[in-house]
């Protein structure tokens, strides 16, 4: 079935079953592999994207549920690593293996759009859906604070 989507500002028409998780449509149909599969049950955050600027687990979001909405993936943050979160992430060398980091950054983007200057407790609350098996948590925390600072200019 043909489904029309808006991803990172561009329109795509995909031929998939409406119950297909957005995750697999992004990765396999559209070819945006920055969004990762980790658990498939909304328990790791690796697949986090923004839907109309709110955080969503793409592994448990049916593609039919995002028709008419704006989906933003890690590839849509900037063309040149210039988003404040990307700048901060690079400055602090946050990633280790990097597999969880697309999800971490998108969760952080959702947080900053709600709370431009988050406290540590805000970060705990917003980021504890995201597992980092490499244990980069302390740098994730400091990079979010740094990104907030950069965004303020």
């Amino acid at each position: 079935m043909a489904i029309s989507l808006t991803i990172n500002g561009a329109s795509h028409t995909v031929d998939v079953e409406p119950e297909t998780p957005l995750l697999w449509v992004l990765r396999d149909t559209v070819g945006l592999t920055g969004t990762k599969y980790g658990c498939g049950i909304a328990k790791c955050g690796a697949c986090t994207v923004l839907v109309d600027d709110r955080k969503a687990f793409s592994c448990t979001t049916k593609v039919s549920a995002v028709v008419g909405k704006d989906v933003t993936t890690i590839e849509g943050l900037s063309d040149d690593n210039s988003h404040p979160l990307q700048v901060a992430w690079i400055e602090q060398d946050v990633p280790q293996c990097g597999y969880c980091q697309s999800g971490q950054i998108m969760a952080a983007a959702a947080l900053l759009s709600q709370r431009p200057d988050p406290s540590d407790l805000d970060i705990d609350a917003a980021m504890s859906d995201n597992i980092c098996r490499c244990g980069t948590y302390s740098r994730i925390r400091s990079a979010i604070h740094r990104a907030a600072e950069i965004a303020k200019g």
Partner: protein, 762 residues
């Protein structure tokens, strides 16, 4: 030297800095190259000149340094090129990192200059060491990587000296520029000439005091790719004409798929086919517990469904009726396994115990004493929980196989694929990607064998992806272990005898039985036998193997991951029984020249060690050695009256001898504290009816950001000849530092992990 057989299916990241330079993931192949290998986006079309197998220099002075180890977060794409660049004396901002070509490695022996320099044996393969494990990336490749850089540098200097009519000694090589008198040129200009030069003697490599680049915390080369989704992991591989496979194999290792009804799902959209896997199906090496080769990577009985998208394949697989026969292990549980071990443990005269270490006379000393203590410790099976679920992409034709996978051992993966594709290794091309962690799991290659078998049957490229549940159920587990300790002390609390019996599932017995030594598994006895840091007049360690049907495997820090919990817990119990401070007690048992003293003292000093905190708060200390590195840790915990445990901080003092990139070491220590803490708090794989119970993150819990303690790394470096590993050794002390701190806070002694099973209410 020449560039023959350059099959550069490599993977390149740029050295451009965080300042906003252009970041490249995969280089677009040049047209000429692309014609030959259309199916392969993994090729660097740099057009550079190879000076030796490790490095290539382009006309614009860009230096591509090849990396023989796998990047799974530990930083080898930065640290290893730094070792080469230190000697080459190129400009670091010109450096790119690329994977070394595994096919070339298996086809060629090491270059002669390396042998002449004494940095290789003639029989070594080209890249010498390509497996990433045992915390060996730096310490075990440092010398030959430095030699590659130094030998290339001297050839560049000689090429310039010849052209300019001066002596090589008068040519300077700095920041990618050669100069002598009024002459100057870039490395790129002399790279081709350098590649043709033979030197009478190879240069010596630098000693640590001479380092200028090493020792700096330079930005990681891979970071820019890891903040925008462009870093490619195995699971992201896409090759032309590729289809997808979802697989399910017997949830009980060694069980059998009795039947499946493909007809029920074959008409769904996008479905291409299904294959029976393992016994009676595809694959040249089916799983079989009795045969060594078959149990290490053999294909478990099960089924693969192939479709034009992964979700279609997975949905059909899940809907397809299947019937399983659990086989002879269908009533095994973790309880039955551990109870079996505890029965052995309780009988010191069990004939299957083998002596691992013995000094003095433990039995009669303990028997004669009226001041003895005893304890039993238990650690569970664990799964690696790699962040990236297991996957592998393969394409097998009549005369060539290509495999794309995030593996910790590319040559081994290549060999497994060759065996399964029934092709000579020279015709197999292994394309290593980034790994979404490895922790030892990706040394095993069972997913490679399975994917190669499917690709061969299918005759077109296929990406096999395991669900998280499949990844966990098909784990290759960290063994369980059980420990009994007994000790006796004199009237004034001085220890007289220490006796430790251990019964565990043995990794060596499971996959490398030829390396068992008189029934002893060296990794299972890490830190327990003569490697126990403490000295007693009477001391004995005995070991017995009790395996189950579960496949077991190396898991970050291996035996030390669990042994330190038991030993350091029991030493704490002895300290308590002796009425001594846990730090002072440890120091009193260490010889004067023990290397364990300084890390303990540094960790204690930096943490502000005290055994005297208020109720509900406690500090614990522990120390362990693994992979040539000693780490001591002090944990500070709080426990609320309602039993809520919080680990506030961990101070870690590390002696790995030398460090070449301080921040990567700090990041590793922090990573290992999270890894160890996750296991200590939550880690436990239960077995029921022969199968794994916890198969996803709703049950197999991971530490999250809100539970992250403050982690501080402190240097306790002894320098000299010592070069210890840094990928694992901070894991072992975590659990005992925390359980000892819990004891200090609550008076409750934790002798069985994980902590979540214990009631800590006041």
């Amino acid at each position: 030297m020449n560039t023959m057989e350059m099959n550069r299916r490599t993977f390149v990241v740029t050295g451009a800095s965080a300042a906003g330079g252009l970041m490249l993931g995969f280089h677009i192949p040049t047209r000429a190259d692309a014609a030959a290998i259309m199916d392969d986006p993994w090729m660097a079309g740099e057009g550079g000149q190879e000076v030796n197998a490790w490095l290539e220099i382009a006309p614009d002075n860009a230096v591509t340094i090849r990396v023989g180890q796998s990047e799974m977060g530990e930083g080898v794409f930065t640290a290893l090129p730094m070792i080469v660049a230190e000697e080459l004396q190129c400009d670091w901002s010109d450096v790119k990192a690329a994977y070394a070509d595994t096919n070339r490695h298996v086809r060629n022996t090491v270059e002669p200059y390396m042998v002449a320099a004494g940095a290789a044996k003639e029989t070594d393969n080209l890249y010498q060491r390509m497996a990433t494990g045992g915390s060996g990336a730096v310490r075990r490749s440092r010398i030959f990587l430095a030699q590659a850089g130094a030998s290339a540098r001297e050839r560049l200097k000689q090429a310039a000296a010849t052209a300019w009519g001066v002596a090589r000694a008068d040519v300077a090589a700095e920041n990618g520029i050669l100069s002598a008198g009024g002459n100057s040129a870039t490395f790129g200009e002399f790279a081709a000439a350098a590649a043709e030069i033979d030197l009478d003697t190879e240069p010596a490599i630098k000693t640590p005091e001479q380092y200028t680049l090493l020792g700096q915390s330079l930005p990681r080369l891979d970071t820019p790719l890891k903040v925008n989704g462009s870093a490619t992991y195995g699971i992201d591989v896409r090759v032309p004409d590729m289809v997808y496979a979802a697989v399910e194999v017997s949830p009980v290792p060694g069980g059998r798929l009795v039947s499946y009804d493909f007809d029920a799902v074959k008409d769904r959209s996008g479905i291409i086919g299904a294959y029976r896997l393992g016994e009676g199906g595809i694959g040249v090496l089916p799983y079989n517990l009795e045969e060594l080769a078959n149990r290490v990577t053999g294909i478990q009985s099960g089924v693969a469904v192939i479709a034009d998208s992964y979700f279609r394949a997975l949905t059909a697989l899940q809907l397809m009726p299947k019937e399983w026969d659990a086989g002879e292990h269908g009533n095994v549980s973790d309880e039955s396994i551990i109870n079996g071990a505890l029965d052995v443990l309780a009988n010191p005269d069990d004939p299957t115990f083998n002596p691992a270490h013995s000094v003095g006379d433990v039995r009669s000393t303990i028997a004669a004493s009226d001041n003895t203590i005893e304890a039993t410790y238990i650690t569970p099976y664990l799964e690696h929980a790699c962040m990236e679920p297991l996957n592998c992409t393969a394409h097998v034709t009549a005369d060539r196989a290509d495999v794309w996978v995030g593996t910790q051992n590319p040559p081994r993966a290549l060999a497994v694929a060759a065996e399964e594709a029934e092709l000579p290794p020279e015709q197999v091309h292994l394309h290593t990607t980034f790994l979404g962690t490895g922790f030892g799991r990706r040394l095993r290659q069972d997913e490679v064998r399975q994917a190669t078998a499917i690709a061969k049957a299918l005759g077109r490229p296929v990406k096999v992806v395991w669900t998280r549940e499949e990844t966990t159920r098909q784990g290759k587990f960290r063994p369980y272990a059980t420990y009994h300790f007994s000790a006796s002390m004199s009237g004034d609390g001085k220890p007289e005898a220490y006796w430790n019996r251990v019964v565990s599932h043995s990794i060596f017995n499971h996959q490398l039985p030829q390396y068992l030594n008189n029934g002893l598994d060296r990794s299972a006895l890490e830190g327990l036998d003569q490697r126990l840091p403490y000295r007693f007049d009477n001391q004995q360690t005995d070991y017995a193997i009790r395996d189950s049907h579960l496949p077991v495997h190396w898991w970050r820090s291996v035996g030390a991951s669990q042994n330190a919990f038991a030993v350091e817990g029991f030493i704490d119990e002895m300290a308590h029984a002796a009425g001594a401070d846990p730090l002072e007690f440890r120091l009193s048992l260490l010889p004067e020249d023990s290397e364990f003293r300084n890390p303990l003292l540094v960790a204690a000093r930096e943490a502000g060690w005290t055994s005297d905190l208020g109720r509900g708060e406690g500090m614990g200390i522990a120390v362990a050695e693994a992979f040539g590195t000693i780490v001591a840790q002090v944990a500070l915990v709080t426990v609320s009256r309602r039993g809520q445990l919080r680990v506030e901080s961990v101070d870690a003092a590390i002696d790995c001898g030398h460090i070449i990139h301080p921040r990567l070491v700090q990041d590793q220590v922090e990573s290992q504290v999270v890894f160890g803490l996750t296991a200590a708090l939550y880690g436990e794989i239960h077995i029921k009816n022969g199968a794994v119970v916890e198969d996803n993150f709703d049950q197999y819990l991971m530490l999250r950001i809100n539970e992250m303690p403050q982690v501080r790394t402190h240097w306790a470096l002894s320098g000299g000849e010592k070069w210890g590993g840094i990928g694992e050794p901070a894991v072992p002390p975590v659990a005992p530092a925390i359980t000892n701190a819990v004891f200090a806070a609550t008076g409750k002694r934790i002798r069985r992990l994980p902590l979540r099973n214990h009631d800590l209410t006041a």
